[in-house]
């Protein structure tokens, strides 16, 4: 008998979508590679990312310079390794800020409801209406470009979206019977939030953290390209890519070397968040 694709009539959801585990593995190993680059990369490469060696500009890979040198004769590999640190710092900082705003606010509004919810949600909608890159640019416009403002700018540009997400998740969690069960047992609001709501948010936060880390890496690069990100000579992935674009016609390999880590790191984050999402979904439905 021939079969066709369909979903069971009686089964509300099909079994968790099967993801080629290969991709998860790829994501995890790429993520690990990025982590290694951040942690031991600089030590491993052992070059000063700021040491200018004019006589040795645009040197190809080989010798002490694994990935060659840039337009000022600086070691590209170490600039990328140190840049990974700056970029990671920015990404982690931005996500931390967004999370630190979004979770309390989202839980507060989603859990309490009522006029608090109404008012705060309007405010969140307001910030949500402005494209996040524009928010980031606006913040940088106020305080000038630097690593700190980049962290702040990105963090502030993510919170509205993130708060909305948390809020709607909390609204969903709040109406689940397990919350009622806890209330019937006499649990205080704080306890309900702690045992039923926050635990329920863990998968969402895990997934969003990886997603936002990816976003932040991309946005750091975009700001660098617009000249509003990390300022030279400070190495970051975004600034490295922006710098190398200047020589792209002459030395396209430099732009590639600068762009590939970004693409790979974000790709890794995306793969991880996707498989995380699948895994956590599957776990929830049993």
């Amino acid at each position: 008998m021939k079969t066709q694709v369909a979903v069971l009539v009686t089964e509300p959801r099909p079994a968790a979508r099967r993801r080629v585990p290969l991709l998860t593995t790829v994501g995890a190993s790429l993520g690990l590679l990025v982590l290694l680059t951040i942690v031991i990369g600089p030590w491993l490469i052992g070059q000063d990312p700021y040491a200018i060696d004019i006589g040795n500009r645009f040197a190809g890979p080989g010798g002490a310079h694994w990935l060659g040198t840039d337009e000022l004769g600086r070691d590209v590999a170490s600039r990328i390794a140190y840049g990974a640190r700056a970029t990671a710092l920015i990404a982690v900082g931005a996500v931390a800020i967004a999370t630190a705003i979004a979770i309390p606010l989202g839980v507060l509004t989603g859990f309490l409801g009522g006029w608090v919810d109404l008012v705060v949600t309007r405010v969140v909608d307001l910030f949500f209406a402005i494209p996040s890159l524009l928010v980031a640019i606006g913040v940088i416009g106020l305080f000038g470009a630097s690593v700190t403002t980049t962290v702040l700018a990105l963090g502030l540009s993510y919170w509205p979206f993130y708060t909305r997400l948390i809020r709607s998740a909390v609204v969903g969690l709040r109406s689940r019977p397990n919350v009622d069960a806890a209330r019937v047992l006499g649990a205080s609001r704080l306890r309900v939030i702690r045992t039923e709501i926050l635990t329920g948010l863990v998968p969402l936060v895990l997934v969003q953290t990886t997603v936002l880390l990816g976003f932040a890496i991309l946005d750091e690069a975009a700001l660098g390209f617009l000249g509003l990100g990390v300022q030279p000579p400070q190495a970051s992935w975004g600034s490295r890519l922006a710098e190398s674009r200047e020589f792209i016609l002459v030395h396209p390999e430099l732009a590639l070397v600068a762009g590939v880590p970004i693409v790979l790191a974000v790709f890794a984050m995306n793969l991880l968040s996707d498989s995380l999402r699948d895994r956590l979904d599957a776990k929830r439905t049993g």
């Binding site: 200018i52 004019i54 337009e71 000022l72 000249g227 300022q231 030279p232 200047e246 020589f247 016609l249």
Partner: protein, 514 residues
């Protein structure tokens, strides 16, 4: 050459529209010659405002709107005669009254008021004759009147009729007139049919581009015809020998570091000298200009200047030697080796002991080479224990903030005129580019410059300039670190075009499309 026809009728019949696209930074300081001094504004201003005189391709001073000029023997009275048949873009003739109006306006403006400080009166003798009276002798006045974009001759009637005339100037005297201006977009220049030597290019799409890294690509792919390009791109295009012509001026412009000499640390000559030694001049031009340009160790004058003799105050036997000289100077100046390699103050006047030697050095963000320069500076000064942080700066606010003394040290600029212009503009108090040297305010220096400008002839002035240069190299070592090439790429469609010196438009006027 000069057109013979009467104003009111186009001097040459424009039969075919020849159009090119230029990629240039937006004139973010606006188009008022009294306010805008940056190159970004002066280039389009030179295209639409003509001056009395101009420099030709060979650097000779020739008449532009002026047919001829005479000076009194003591160089205090200059009489200019205007070309006939010359008109503003609206067809009204350029008259002596317009010249008088323009110069009187200039004298009140930021840009020219220093240069015109000795100008006491302008008289319109008749329709075509203007007489300038100076309070002190100056042989350089005709040169001052050639300053592209700045010594602009404006239409009295048009400027007075419209309070916001400079937002989009109408009725202009230059080879082209501005017909549309879209901020952050582009401007369109159409030929001014009443210009004495009508340009062959009848329309210029002047596209604002703040990111020069795309220029070579743009010219190559046919998105543009003329644009400044980077050094690496120039090298590549030259060796590729393909569809793009790379035009380089043989004139070189010195590049400076500026510093605030009124305050510590640069109030101490020894610190200035130490920094002058610490800067790795050879390395720098290789790094940022792809090995082009020249190196100088104290000269401000260019090698082709009649006054030029090489000064090598800061030349040493090698990098190690430079560093040890610099370190010794810093030690004696009271900036001693501190923890973490950064020098700290010990007994420096006006500085608390233990203050680290840290500087934030700004540069104009739309000048890619500048970023490179500052990074090299950072690297070089680190070798002697001075910590520099490069600071990308809004180009529109940059020079204003320099002049206000916001920075202890800053990335300077380059100019391309002769020695007289240089001293008058850059070193004399009140000169048009005194932002660079505001902190000088040295009366004896001013007097010396005035003396040179008032000398009977350029030749007389040279001796004084040489003296000045020698003194400057030793006493206030402004870091003259090298020469920078103006570099332009043009598509093969554009012929007869040469890289312009300064910001003048004469080479564009001579260019054609074909």
């Amino acid at each position: 050459g000069c057109g013979g026809s009467e104003p009111g009728a186009p001097s040459a019949a424009i039969t075919e529209i020849t159009e090119i696209t230029m990629l240039e930074p937006e004139p973010s300081q606006g188009l008022d010659p009294n306010i805008a001094a940056a190159d970004a504004s002066r280039i389009p201003m030179a295209m639409m405002y003509e001056t009395l005189t101009e420099r030709d391709a060979g650097g000779e001073l020739v008449g532009a709107l002026a047919e001829k000029w005479e000076s009194s023997p003591d160089n205090t009275i200059y009489t200019f005669t205007l070309k006939s048949g010359v008109g503003f873009s609206d067809g009204t003739p350029v008259t002596a009254a317009d010249v008088k109006f323009s110069f009187e306006r200039m004298k009140t403006g930021e840009v020219m008021k220093g240069l015109l400080s000795t100008l006491t009166s302008v008289e319109a003798v008749d329709e075509k004759t203007v007489r300038f009276t100076l309070s002190a002798p100056s042989w350089i006045f005709p040169e001052t009147a050639s300053r592209p974009g700045s010594a602009a001759i404006l239409s009295k009637k048009a400027v007075e009729a419209k309070p916001d005339y400079f937002t989009q100037p109408t009725a202009t005297s230059g080879p082209w007139q501005l017909t549309s201006y879209v901020p952050k977009g582009s401007a369109i220049f159409d030929v001014n049919p009443h210009y004495p030597t009508p340009p062959k290019i009848s329309k210029i799409r002047y596209t604002f581009s703040e990111d020069p890294s795309g220029h070579a690509a743009a010219i190559e792919s046919g998105s543009g015809d003329i644009a400044n390009i980077g050094y690496t791109d120039a090298e590549r295009l030259k060796s590729a020998g393909g569809s793009v012509q790379v035009l380089q001026s043989d004139a070189l412009a010195p590049l400076f570091w500026g510093w605030d000499r009124t305050k510590a640390p640069f109030s101490d000559k020894k610190v200035r000298q130490a920094v002058a030694f610490a800067v790795d001049r050879e390395g720098r031009q290789t790094a940022c200009w792809s090995g082009t340009g020249g190196v100088t160790y104290g000269n401000i004058l260019r090698p082709w200047d009649p006054n030029y003799t090489e000064i090598s105050t800061y030349r040493t036997s090698g990098r190690a030697d430079s560093i040890s000289k610099a370190k010794a100077l810093l030690d004696t100046a009271g900036w001693v080796e501190g923890a973490g390699g950064t020098r700290t103050a010990k007994g420096v006047a006006g500085v608390a002991d233990g203050t680290p030697f840290k500087l934030s050095v700004p540069y104009e963000s739309n000048w890619p080479a500048a970023g490179c320069h500052v990074q090299v500076l950072q690297q070089n000064l680190k070798d002697v224990g001075i910590q520099v942080t490069p600071e990308k700066y809004d180009p529109a606010a940059y020079w204003g903030d320099v002049a206000k003394g916001k920075f202890a040290m800053y990335h300077g600029g380059a100019g391309a005129s002769g020695a007289a212009d240089l001293y008058q503009n850059w070193f004399r108090t009140g000169g048009s580019l005194t932002e660079l040297t505001t902190h000088l305010a040295d009366e004896s220096l001013d007097a010396k410059i005035d003396k040179a400008l008032g000398a009977g002839s350029p030749a007389d002035a040279t001796a004084i300039f040489k003296e000045l240069e020698q003194w400057q190299a030793d006493e206030l070592p402004m870091l003259v670190v090298g020469y920078q090439w103006p570099q332009v790429a043009a598509s093969r469609r554009v012929t007869n075009f040469t890289a312009p010196l300064d910001d003048d438009s004469y080479s564009l006027v001579r260019a054609s499309v074909g």
